[in-house]
């Protein structure tokens, strides 16, 4: 079984937020009004923000300034706090190392959102809405596991949702390979953010395959994790700047 992993090269990243947009279109994340967004209600499975978070993005005096940005999907932690605290097993790590969410089972207690050190989990405060014609362009894909919704189809109000490494694309790629009567290859599956990345700063693949790009990159001296000491054993890798 594969151990899917994403590597983000911060040296290459230009913080253009194309990954955020691609994620939104691929996964049908609802749009909120600017006021709601200001109140922390925006849903961005893939977020781009300045690092460090708690001080002004620009440090130093002009012209000697420096700015760092990070883009942040789910870390798909190996010791995921969200999975450990979910009372109903609505979120779980599948056998391929992806932290998944069962939208039909979630009771909306928001224990996972509180325990996630990365803030990658989002709650549907209201029923999802789209502005104008956006609603006509929803991704029609739908992933159901044992009759429970897990895929990009629109989630109901009151449940938690999160980045799934576009797991529906994995299912589709496998089905296509099976229909064509051939073996599924790991490079047939990439999440939308990786596919769209302008600077080609994102890599995706099987971390357990020693020849894959991601496992080669994981050996880089620049390879690091976000909040390495959080105890969650995050999997998504970053290649540090500089």
């Amino acid at each position: 079984m594969a151990n899917w992993c994403m590597v983000i090269d911060l040296e290459k990243c230009v913080a253009c937020q194309a990954c955020s947009v691609a994620c939104r279109m691929e996964n049908n994340t609802p749009v909120v009004s600017p006021e709601e967004a200001k109140n922390g209600r925006a849903i961005r499975w893939n977020d781009v923000f300045p690092l460090p978070v708690h001080i002004a993005p620009e440090q130093g005096e002009y012209p000697n300034v420096k700015t760092h940005y990070a883009t942040r999907p789910c870390m798909h932690c190996e010791n995921a706090p969200c999975v450990k605290t979910c009372p109903v097993q609505a979120t779980y790590i599948d056998e391929e190392g992806i932290v998944r969410q069962n939208y039909d089972r979630c009771i909306g207690c928001r224990f996972c959102t509180v325990s996630c050190p990365y803030g990658v989990r989002y709650f549907n405060w209201y029923a999802p809405q789209w502005e104008g014609t956006l609603e006509n362009h929803l991704n029609p894909d739908e992933l159901s596991v044992n009759g429970s919704l897990e895929g990009p189809a629109v989630r109901p109000v009151g449940v938690v949702e999160k980045c799934t490494y576009c797991v529906h694309r994995l299912v589709k790629a496998r089905e296509r390979a099976a229909a064509e009567g051939r073996e599924f290859r790991a490079d047939e599956y990439v999440p939308a953010c990786v596919q769209t990345c302008t600077g080609k700063a994102r890599y995706f693949g099987d971390l357990d395959d020693p020849d894959s790009t991601v496992s080669q990159l994981s050996k880089s001296l620049r390879a690091t994790h976000l909040l390495e000491d959080s105890g969650a054993h995050p999997k998504t890798l970053y290649l540090a700047e500089g």
Partner: protein, 500 residues
Amino acid sequence: MQPILTAQDRENLVSPLFKFDRQFWMTIAVLSVITLPGLALYVRQLFLGLGVTDLNRPVFWGAYLVNFIFLIGISMAGTVISAVLHLLHIEWRRPITRIAESLTVFGLMTAGLQIIMDMGRPDRLINTILYGRLQAPLMWDIASLTLYLLTASFALYLQLIPDIAFMRDSTPENAPTWRKKLYSTLSLGWRGNKEQWTRLEKAITTVSVILIPIGVSLHTVTSWLFSTTVQPGWKSTILGPYFVVGAIYSGIGLLFIAVTFATQYNHHLKSYITDTFYKNLGWIFIVMSFVWFYFTLNETLVVTTEQETLEFPVMAAKLFGEFAPAFWGMNVLMVATTWILIALKVPNKASSNPLFKTTTGLVMTVLAVVTFIALALNIPTLHGAFVELGLLIAFIVFFVLALLGLTGWFQAHLIPSTVIASAFVLFGMWLERWNILMPTLTHARIIPYTTYFPTVTEVALTISTFGILTLIFVVFYKFFPSISIWEVEAGRALEIKNGG
């Protein structure tokens, strides 16, 4: 030998339960009026979603969770008073065991409501049974809460059986048939013979022993809800015992208020619940206040000294930041409480010194409140090294003088002073829970710092919750005596025996 329970007792304790007078209906009407807006807003929340609250990312939990811990906390009163004091054979517990036990049951019921209010999908509550993971802290809490509620209800009912039988035998002729039927069914054929008493005593002792660890477990598990998320500010091993101590502290506070409310409601009860109860439970209250300070100091000192990059911003928000008014307000209330409680224990000496006059005390109280508000509001024109320091010193001086001035009044008014101290503790403990939850939630690790203030819906639902709690209390004691009649009887019998 005279019968231990006189006709007067019957008149005092049983007759009011059959009088649905104006006072009763007025109480019900007032409580319903304050409860209904919250219920209406809850229905709105059900339809629209939790967006009607001020919750956001990362403040995913708010007023509902604060109320939940608070209500869990006040439910500790019953366990301590009834179970511990029962096992220690402490006599003065007898008249108030009933109210104490019922507060446990009612507190837990309303605490359960908070969880449902806070859920994004209350319609999926059944999933906790269908797919419940016993490894999840929330499931520990649900299991512990359910077990505690069942055991406490059972304990309450056990202790009620002889009194229900007494009610059955004392029901007035003109009482409605359904009430006669209610009492005769619920009394389970109690005849009060020796065998039944022996069995009941055994059962009550057993349940008391079981109740104590369950009570402690619930408060500890509730603290684990937070500490298992390993977020800065919650990642603490002290949280478990701190919650247990806080629970006993606020539980006793509510018990004082509930008992005083009951005696004010039915004046006859004053001959059963005497000053002795206030004095004796006051000692436990003092001990708890010191234990509480001890834990608060431990929690605050270590994190402040360490100045660790993740933990310290949370603590700084409490000490000097936006949570300072709530944090220091809580501490001021608790200091005042401890002072009042100790003042009640020292002899009252009249003094001619104007510093110890009640009027001086009242003036100083007003000044202290004004300076505290000025500090809390953080008015920009008041900034500056000396202005702020001056205000702080002024507040401390006014506060000390206020306590000194009012000491004489406190000493002369046992029950009002105890109620004031209890109200301070309840409000202070609500703030304590707020100070545990909110600074951590608003200071997430890699999400920008944010703020949270309850919306109208959350405030109305909080008011509703306390309305419902009082409503259950008032209605329950219209059907069952608020004094444990048989315990009073047993106490008197013991007195006669010991007296010769």
